[in-house]
Subunit: 89 residues, 2 copies
Amino acid sequence: MAEKPYQLVVSRTRTVEEHVLDVLEVFNKGTQEVEIKGYGREIDKVADVYNAIKDRLGDGVSLEGTSIGSETKDRRRISYLLLRLKRIY
Amino acid sequence: MAEKPYQLVVSRTRTVEEHVLDVLEVFNKGTQEVEIKGYGREIDKVADVYNAIKDRLGDGVSLEGTSIGSETKDRRRISYLLLRLKRIY
């Protein structure tokens, strides 16, 4: 069974750099795939975290998939963006 | 030569509904493909506009492509999200 990707949900209370560190740490521990997910106002931070990781790892990481949709949270429909990243080397 | 898709850049000063109306108007005039692009803080509005269009058109519109990256604007690197939508029927 393929290893379940590690999912990082972007939070308002943490900086882009802190999220990037989380992802690099997970990759360093050998995890191949990471999902970065953000809801509503945090969706732009998902893009920022992704770009910051690309800046550091370049071709060492690839964007495997993108998912955009909405979920019901606290009885309200809220948009989300999910990026699936794969460690290349 | 394939018709160049109409590009809508999401703006801070307009509501999600106004952007959705723009897209529906363009589709009604026969344009097949629309790109919705947002920078920085407006990236989450791109997702909101997309979800609102999906709510209204359902399977009548499909997400053909997603592009995430960063550009230099006013000497600052800023993230962007671009969605390419296609009118199905």
